[in-house]
């Protein structure tokens, strides 16, 4: 697995070097303690790197806090001159410092060399200069350079320019409303909820309003309570914002125009794709996945000493994982959005318990369209990739090196959560002993070691709760019958099956002809005969077959050896 990680890392490195000269893609940065943070690097000075998070804020992060992989990645970028040098905070504080500001130009745009980053409109004077909090985060759009330019020069929209929510409206909210109407946050151990139950920190929340009513009626200024309260007389009880004076006429004008124009979500924001060039995974799909999916479907991480695996064994944190899907199969059919599970689960009825994301609002229509469009275009990592040559999957069940069986087990385990203690206890009700293959391994071994003669078919029922986790199943010496194998065949990840000294016969064995990973089967002293040769021959993954003292004949063995030339077959 380490090998795979390195290869994947190299791939992502190669991809980033190749495709993006001026702008680094979003990626997950990890701290040495394993916490993940998603962002794109904008520049560096000394040992501090400036990383833009998904909230568009720029975070100065010390090189030493990052994991060694991230360090390598950043060194690579810096040494190749792919990221500019210079303290972004200083730059914003002193626009005259042209020495380093020149380096923050966009080499692709070519025209922006004059644009320098100016201080944010109202830097908080109370904070010490250089403090992280003193830096007023610039509201950035999907392209950092364009966004920086917007922040500097185009804060106010031109008279004919359509109002953009993210670049025009949200900064107003942020400046004047967030102190009371932001997302709930923790303070001194208490959760501080937004006042009046009203959040204004995203388009969705602004449109949703609060329990009383909506606050914005698209196209209807008179019914838009938001507009009403900011235009009331300053002495009015309901006047907003209650502190710091009224909004400036320009700001009120922006709100007015935005509502009149239909209160549309941001056109160029990360939420909805600019599909002129086709949908890009990094620019369009990933930010959305990150916002709505990665809480549950991110990289496994360690919390309180336990590894938290992604739900349903599905990771959506890189292109490869999205394409790979989980144990149940892929989640998207390239070119065919209707057949893609991903589209199916996000387009379910909002009341359906299966809808994704399970929390928060359903995805917007535009976002769903973007997913569909992306899949239709072939679910490409970059729109310029050709559909016929999808990127080679780096995630593969073919082990890269080492012992095949172990690697297979580890790879199977990676896609599953280890069974919980109650799950194991429930499984042990069957009389089985259920033990993880090793500490915290997701795969378990189930065996009937105590009084196996008392174990009958019914025992298997208790195991089905963890059926995907069982890689080793030992039913030897038990009193099971053929019927049990119709249950065993559902144990998808079984690699090792022991039916020694049981009454299992051809009829039962037929059930397991399609087991995908079975490599060891022990039928010593069972009742199987030559009729089972075809069943066994159809399990191409078999490496070891033990048939001694069964009813199988030499002729049957000869046929089986012909069908499974690489397997060790003893009888």
């Amino acid at each position: 697995m380490a090998g795979f990680r390195i290869i994947f890392f190299l791939c992502s490195l190669a991809a980033s070097t190749f495709f993006s000269i001026g702008e680094e893609p979003f990626r997950i940065y990890k701290t040495s303690t394993g916490k993940g943070f998603s962002g794109k690097v904008l520049g560096y000075e000394g040992q501090t790197f400036f990383i833009q998070g998904k909230d568009n804020k720029i975070y100065p992060i010390s090189f030493k806090q990052l994991s060694s992989n991230d360090q390598k990645y950043l060194i690579e970028l810096a040494s190749n001159g792919k990221i500019p040098k210079g303290d972004l905070r200083k730059l914003t504080g002193s626009p005259q410092s042209s020495e380093s500001s020149e380096k923050i130009e966009d080499p692709e745009a070519g025209t922006s060399s004059d644009e320098i980053i100016r201080p944010a409109s109202k830097p908080s004077p109370k904070l010490r200069p250089g403090s992280f909090f003193a830096y007023k985060p610039v509201g950035l759009g999907q392209d950092p350079n364009a966004a920086i330019a917007e922040k500097v020069g185009a804060k106010l929209p031109g008279p004919d320019e359509p109002i953009d929510f993210t670049s025009h409206v949200l900064p107003i909210m942020e400046e004047r409303c967030f102190s009371c109407h932001d997302a709930p946050y923790e303070k001194n151990g208490r959760t501080i909820h937004p006042k009046a139950g009203l959040r204004l920190d995203s388009y969705e929340w602004v449109m949703k309003g609060n329990l009383d009513n909506t606050v914005v009626e698209a196209g209807n200024l008179a019914d838009s309570y938001l507009y009403e309260v900011v235009t009331l007389d300053e002495e009015d009880d309901m006047f907003m914002p209650p502190k710091g004076g009224p909004l400036s006429p320009e700001q009120i004008d922006i709100l007015k125009r935005w509502i009149e124009e239909g209160a549309k979500p941001s056109a160029g924001g990360a939420n909805v794709a600019d599909m002129g060039q086709g949908v890009s995974f990094h620019n369009h799909i990933f930010p959305l996945l990150e916002e709505r999916c990665l809480d549950c479907h991110g990289e496994p991480y360690v919390k309180n000493g336990r590894t938290i695996h992604p739900k349903a064994g599905l990771r959506l944190d890189t292109y490869e994982w999205v394409i790979k899907g989980n144990l149940d199969g892929t989640i998207l059919e390239k070119g065919n959005p209707e057949e893609s599970t991903l589209v199916a689960v996000i387009t379910l009825d909002p009341d359906d318990p299966e809808i994704m994301p399970p929390k928060g609002d359903p995805l917007l229509k535009e976002e769903i369209e973007m997913f569909k469009q992306w899949i239709k275009e072939g679910a490409k990592e970059n729109p310029t990739d050709s559909f016929e040559m999808p990127k080679k999957e780096t995630v593969s069940l073919v082990p890269i090196h080492g012992n095949n069986k172990e690697s297979l087990l580890d790879q199977l385990a990676k896609r599953l959560n280890p069974p919980s203690k109650p799950q194991i206890m429930a499984a042990q009700k069957s009389g089985a002993l259920v033990t993880p293959l090793s500490v915290k391994h997701s795969m378990v071994r189930a065996e009937f070691s105590s009084g196996p003669n008392l174990i009958e078919d019914s025992a298997i029922g208790a195991l089905s709760g963890i059926k995907n986790n069982i890689s080793h199943l030992d039913l030897s010496r038990t009193s099971i019958t053929d019927n049990v194998l119709s249950e065993v065949k559902k144990f998808n990840n079984l690699t090792w099956l022991n039916l020694k000294d049981t009454s299992v016969s051809d009829r039962g064995l037929k059930n397991i002809s399609k087991m995908p990973y079975l490599s060891y089967i022990n039928l010593v002293s069972s009742k199987v005969s030559d009729a089972s040769v075809d069943t066994l021959a159809s399990i191409k993954t078999l490496k070891e077959v033990y048939l001694w003292n069964s009813d199988i004949t030499e002729r049957g063995i000869k046929r089986l050896r012909g069908a499974l030339p690489d397997a060790k077959i003893l009888f």
């Binding site: 090793s438 391994h441 795969m443 065996e447």
Partner: protein, 432 residues
């Protein structure tokens, strides 16, 4: 089927009862001192990586087998080799002594370490070191490797003990709970002695007696509701459970067909190996079978050839039988002794004690088949290839294959830390 008894160190009745009580009932003569019930959550953790072997059959060639005439022949050094010739095996380029023609057929499944060395030259101390990875000290009894296996791998079979010793004087669980110590079986043909209720004692009367005992214990149990006290009565319950269990059949080799007995040979060692295989089938984790008679100070070559006849037969039968039953994949068979014998042949045509360059034979689960690690020089004193492997490292190698946590620390009653393989490091060259 009582054969060749002289070669086994039979236990006398008193010894047997003492050790059976220790193993089966968890009581030593001084239960509080001997058993230290340690509260370790790790007992249920099988290890930090998937194991490549699950069971161990440890064949102990007690008295120090002559490595030069068995698994460590050196055809390049005729001076020390004596009359023993080498024969090719099923593994390319691996040679064994002509005394082991049957085992040679299984060499593709086995590995040999030819540079074992120990710091002890006396049987008892060296055997102690081999079994515990620690030097024998007056102040503490270290657990044997089998006891560590039992302790660290969690309970596999809840009715029969996980650690069984066939033949020879059993070593104990040391400072670990006595239930981890080996269950001793003196004569493999006799099965588990004293495991049946007496004929005159029918179920009703037995039940009545148990109830009476419980009644008498009740007030004491109430007053001293402690782990040690509960463990004492739990072990009584376990013993009764075992007496009534089907698992008891695992100990009964008379249930094997006659040709099986023939295959293993009717020597005590052969029958011990047959019993070991039955126990492994019943998921006993660690079985040690001892075979004495290797202390060949006199007439070495004839004695070794004689010993090898039943050892070779039993070992090859064991490997074949395990293989046919699909058990060899998960069972590691280890054959070694406490040290080797001198390269120099003494005037009585014998070989004396020699702690350098003796051999360990490992086969089956977790072993890289057809491997030989190391080669001794022409005088048999220092390694020509490879490095010396000490007993702790051999145990670490086995423990690694079993997936046991080598760094799991267990504390003696006085608070001293001990681990399964002391300071040994696994020899990965022989592991798959």
């Amino acid at each position: 089927m009582k054969t060749d008894l002289s070669k086994l160190d039979e236990l006398n009745r008193r010894e047997f009862i003492a050790s059976a009580a220790k193993a089966c009932l968890g009581v030593g003569l001084l239960p509080m001192a001997g058993s230290y019930i340690h509260n370790s959550a790790n007992a249920l953790i099988p290890g930090s990586r998937p194991a490549t072997a699950r069971y161990v059959i440890y064949l102990n060639m007690s008295g120090a087998m002559s490595h030069l005439d068995t698994f460590g022949t050196n055809p390049d050094a005729p001076d020390i080799q004596g009359p023993t010739k080498s024969i090719p095996t099923s593994a390319d380029g691996v040679f064994l002594s002509e005394n082991l023609p049957e085992t040679a057929k299984h060499m593709h499944n086995a590995a040999i370490i030819r540079t074992m060395s120990t710091s002890q030259g006396a049987h008892e101390q060296a055997s102690y070191l081999m079994h515990t990875s620690y030097l024998k000290r007056g102040t503490i009894a270290h657990p044997t490797f089998g006891s560590w296996v039992s302790k660290l791998s969690g309970n596999i079979n809840t009715t029969i003990p996980m650690n069984v010793q066939i033949g020879a004087n059993p070593a104990g669980a040391g400072f670990l709970e006595s239930k981890h110590g080996p269950l001793p079986i003196g004569n493999p043909s006799a099965g588990l002695a004293n495991s049946k209720a007496a004929d005159y004692l029918d179920e009703t009367r037995f039940g009545g007696r148990l109830a009476l005992a419980q009644k008498m214990n009740a007030s004491y149990l109430n007053q001293y509701d402690q782990k040690q006290v509960r463990a004492y009565s739990d072990l009584y319950k376990d013993a009764i459970k075992l007496m009534r269990s089907e698992d008891l059949k695992a100990f009964d080799i008379t249930q094997e067909p006659e040709q099986m007995h023939e295959l293993y040979g009717k020597s005590n060692f052969g029958q011990g190996c047959l019993l070991a295989r039955r126990l492994i089938e019943n998921q006993v984790r660690y079985v040690e079978v001892s075979r004495g008679g290797w202390d060949t100070h006199d007439n070495n070559f004839e004695a070794v050839a004689n010993n090898c006849m039943d050892m070779d037969k039993a070992l090859s039968a064991l490997l074949l039988d395990l293989e046919m039953r699909g058990l060899l994949k998960e069972t590691m068979v280890v054959l070694t002794s406490e040290f080797g014998r001198t390269p120099k042949i003494n005037p009585r045509d014998g070989r004396d004690h020699w702690p350098y360059g003796f051999t360990a034979f490992l086969a089956g689960g977790g072993v890289k088949g057809g491997t030989v690690y190391g080669k001794m020089d022409k005088v048999g004193r220092n390694p020509e290839e490879g490095k010396f492997v000490d007993p702790a490292s051999l145990n670490a190698t086995i423990a690694h294959a079993l997936g046991l946590p080598l760094n799991d620390v267990q504390y003696s009653p006085s608070g001293r830390p001990f681990t399964v393989a002391h300071d040994g490091t696994p020899l990965f060259d022989v592991l798959a």
